[in-house]
């Protein structure tokens, strides 16, 4: 069985280049759209933009904002062999219509859609929700710099 120790690390997906700060109070759909746009260059040549946009829009309906106010829209693609993530920080946050929770951080996660990777995918989701607790989100929202945000999240 693949375990968390088998290479799932937030540092592998969250770097200064994959952190996006969003001003104002965008809607949930707007946040997902901007995260998807930021994801496109990372997976170009592997997944077409159309496939990415439509797949993310499809799975986004199933995803629920966590109690901590962290949102993880995620999708799996058979073409991928690695995990990809884009972190969105929304200092002013938006009110999630489904749960009524204020969301100030969201991470779009793309995972390989292969049975061997599903354990890692679960580990990644668990690790993300464990990391993005309300205290960390508070600190993130107070930052302005993507590098500082990536360092805060990864502890590096």
């Amino acid at each position: 069985m693949i375990r968390q120790s088998d290479g799932v690390s937030l540092a592998s997906i969250i770097t200064p280049e994959t952190v996006v700060f969003m001003d104002g109070t965008p809607s949930r759909e707007e946040v997902v759209r901007r995260l998807t746009e930021a994801m496109l260059p990372l997976v170009s040549g592997i997944i077409s933009s159309q496939a990415l946009i439509s797949r993310v829009a499809e799975v986004e309906k199933l995803n629920q904002v966590l109690e901590s106010g962290f949102y993880i829209p995620h999708a799996k693609f058979p073409e991928l062999h690695n995990f990809f993530g884009v972190l969105g920080v929304i200092p002013q946050g938006f009110d999630d219509p489904a749960t009524g929770l204020k969301v100030r951080a969201a991470l779009l996660l793309l995972s390989p859609h292969k049975p061997a990777y599903f354990q890692l995918h679960l580990n990644m989701l668990s690790r993300l929700s464990q990391t993005f607790q309300p205290e960390l989100i508070e600190k993130l929202a107070a930052l302005k710099d993507p590098a500082a945000a990536a360092a805060l999240v990864t502890g590096k």
């Binding site: 069985m1 375990r3 968390q4 199933l62 629920q64 966590l66 109690e67 901590s68 993880i72 995620h74 749960t99 009524g100 599903f118 354990q119 995918h121 679960l122 580990n123 989701l125 668990s126 690790r127 993300l128 929700s129 464990q130 990391t131 607790q133 309300p134 205290e135 960390l136 508070e138």
Partner: protein
């Protein structure tokens, strides 16, 4: 800021938390009722048809083995395979009501016959012991019996009102003690027989005018030998009482249920044959017939102890032990009858054939006190009317026993021809046919039962008049109740307070429930759809009840402000969910801990309960809406959210199970 708890209250369905017992204990519970007839059946039979009674008591005990097999088949089909369930399935509602009426009559007389018999044994002992203590006072046996019987009934009435359930441990200890006393009595009897020699009891039947009943009007029938045999058999059949307890106790029998049920049935048969049949036989061989028909008529086993070879003081000590063990067993039968009658009435009330008035719960103890009151008051009335005459109660007794068995056996025969009712065991002697197995063996049993029952209608006038009247009264009560309930249901659909009828316990927090989870392993089984319990079945099939707590969790969705309100109530929907859960747990003989939480995120609730309880596994059924992968993803996120950042220690195995497949992943 820490995430808010996603649920505020936890509801524990304590009615569902059965603990399961070994086959020895199950046998002990039944024998405390069935075996107690050893103390009075011989005397009553002797009074009815003379010194040949041991043959018939022995025959009844052999027949009990067949009836036990009938019960095993019914339990192999229904976890709660009592008379009501079987007859209802086979012959419909009306016949079920008639059969339950007869069964209720059985219960109403079981208590009195047992308590009066115990009183008579105590009185006989006092009459032997008091002169030795220079107290020259003759104890009026019947008066003592009535006073004792009423006192015992009042005691157990109050115990049942308080909801103190019959403990199988207690029954087991009583039966252990009774077995030791019985073994000593038997060994000593055999030694006496060895020294004195013995003559086999005669086969000749000597019916009294009373025991012939209305048969005196049919002298030509008396000349038919077989009729006489059935008449004598009918006068001894009361030794068979207590079988219904087997159906009631079956739900508590531990896994593997059918195997343990068979073992319990065999233990009951063997004990009854040796204890009731054997000791009655030895009594007839050792006690002079005039004493059996005289001073030992209502305390036969005391008589056996006193008529053995040996010094008087030793025999008196043995009598003390016989009386103490007998009283414990007989008194236990009083409680069993109250518990059994209350259980049957609750069962029929669930089906709406007993008016809701009866189902009202006691404010303090939460028991169905009105049902218990009715049963206890009727039993006290029977005791008072009998004025301590055990023969009179014995005469009436057989009616309920026999007719409930007639209906039950007929029901099982009919069910053999009904499709889609699998059973793990069948009564032997079957012939295969296109329409199913023809249960030749069971039909033969039925022929015996119906013949004895019909003959008893003529010979046992007290039983016929009292039994028919009483059953009719109960039947009318059931009819009227059903009519009123139906009318009420039309007027006020869903107006009742369902929670009131379930033993629910509200707890503010999951933490208060944790001390109740004492086993080494814990498995959390979330449930949502009563038609999708494959995952629960897989857990029940594999988990070791000794070492594993199975927590069955239903997370009921509530939104926003509802979560802050006192949302702790259970709906019909919840009951529909938990009923099959409880039945399935009963079927596998494993204990489950059913919890209901009100939550706005079921996955968070699952994770929270699993985390708090230290569960090693979370076993989910597959959701048709989202699929297994999405379920696991949501659970993984909820699980992670509960962990402190950097805490890598807690892991849980998450399984999604559906027919023939499962997905298993570790959540870290």
């Amino acid at each position: 800021m820490v995430p808010n708890p996603r649920f505020k209250q936890v509801l524990v369905l304590s009615t569902a938390m059965l603990t399961f017992i070994s086959f020895w204990k199950a046998a002990a519970v039944v024998l405390c009722d069935m075996g107690s007839s050893a103390y009075y059946a011989g005397g009553i039979a002797m009074n009815a048809f003379g010194p040949s009674f041991p043959w018939y008591v022995l025959a009844v005990m052999v027949f009990a083995g067949l009836m036990l097999m009938v019960y095993v088949e019914s339990c192999a089909m229904f976890v709660r395979g009592g008379v009501y369930k079987v007859v209802n399935e086979a012959m419909g509602h009306s016949m079920a009501k008639i059969s339950v009426s007869a069964l209720m009559f059985d219960y109403m007389v079981t208590g009195p016959i047992s308590s009066v018999s115990a009183g008579l044994y105590i009185a006989s002992l006092l009459n032997n012991v008091l002169p030795l203590m220079h107290v020259n006072w003759h104890v009026p046996s019947r008066l003592v019996a009535v006073v004792f019987a009423v006192a015992v009934t009042v005691y157990f009435w109050f115990e049942n009102i308080k909801g103190v359930q019959e403990s199988s441990d207690k029954n087991f200890k009583i039966m252990g003690f009774v077995s030791v006393v019985g073994a000593v009595l038997m060994a000593w009897s055999l030694w006496t027989v060895y020294h004195r020699g013995f003559n086999l009891p005669p086969f000749e039947l000597k019916f009294t005018q009373e025991s012939l009943g209305w048969m005196t009007h049919f002298p030509w029938l008396q000349s038919v030998g077989l009729v006489g045999i059935f008449m004598a058999f009918g006068h001894s059949i009361l030794a068979l009482s207590g079988l219904e307890t087997l159906a009631q106790v079956y739900r508590e029998v531990e896994d593997p249920k059918i195997l343990n049920l068979k073992k319990a049935a065999f233990a009951i048969f063997l004990f009854s044959l040796i204890f009731t049949g054997g000791l009655t036989f030895l009594s007839a061989s050792i006690i002079p017939p005039d004493l059996i028909g005289g001073k030992y008529l209502d305390n036969l086993l005391s008589g056996l102890a006193l008529e053995l070879d040996g010094p008087y003081w030793a025999r008196l000590i043995l009598q003390c032990f016989v009386v103490v063990s007998g009283s414990l067993m007989l008194v236990g039968a009083v409680n069993t009858s109250l518990v059994g009658a209350n259980g049957v009435l609750n069962r029929v009330a669930e089906d709406g054939i007993l008016h809701d008035w009866f189902r009202h719960l006691h404010k303090k103890y939460g028991t169905t006190y009105r049902m218990i009151n009715v049963v206890a008051l009727t039993q006290i009335a029977v005791i008072l009317v009998s004025r301590g005459d055990i023969y009179l109660i014995g005469e009436a007794y057989a009616f309920g026993v026999l007719w409930s068995l007639v209906f039950k056996t007929a029901g099982l025969i009919l069910l053999r021809f009904k499709e889609g009712l699998p059973r793990d065991w069948k009564f032997p002697l079957n012939i295969s046919s296109d329409r199913g197995d023809i249960p030749v063996g069971m039909i033969l049993v039925f022929i015996v039962l119906i013949t004895v029952s019909v003959i008893n209608l003529f010979t046992k006038r007290v039983a016929t008049v009292a039994g028919v009247s009483f059953s009719l009264i109960f039947f009318v009560v059931f009819q009227v109740s059903e009519y009123m309930n139906r009318k009420k249901a039309q007027l006020y659909a869903d107006s009742g307070d369902p929670e009131e009828r379930l033993n629910l316990r509200k707890e503010a927090d999951i933490a208060t429930i944790l001390p109740e989870l004492t086993k080494a392993r814990k498995i959390l089984v979330p449930v949502r759809n009563p038609n999708n319990l494959v995952h629960l079945r897989s857990v029940l099939e594999t988990a070791d009840d000794e070492t594993t707590d199975i927590i069955v969790l239903s997370a009921k969705m509530v939104k926003g402000a509802q979560l802050d309100a006192d949302s702790g109530s259970i709906s019909e929907e919840d009951k529909d969910l938990f009923s099959p859960v409880v039945l399935m747990a009963e079927k596998y003989g494993k204990t489950v801990k059913p919890l209901l939480v009100f939550s706005n995120d079921p996955f968070y609730s699952m994770a929270q309960v699993a985390h708090a309880a230290g569960a090693e596994e979370i076993v989910m059924g597959v959701s048709g809406l989202t699929g297994a992968e999405v379920q696991l993803e949501k659970l993984a996120m909820a699980w992670g959210m509960l962990k402190k950042p950097g805490d890598a220690s807690r892991q849980v195995l998450a399984r999604v199970v559906w027919e023939g497949r499962q997905m298993t992943y570790q959540l870290s």
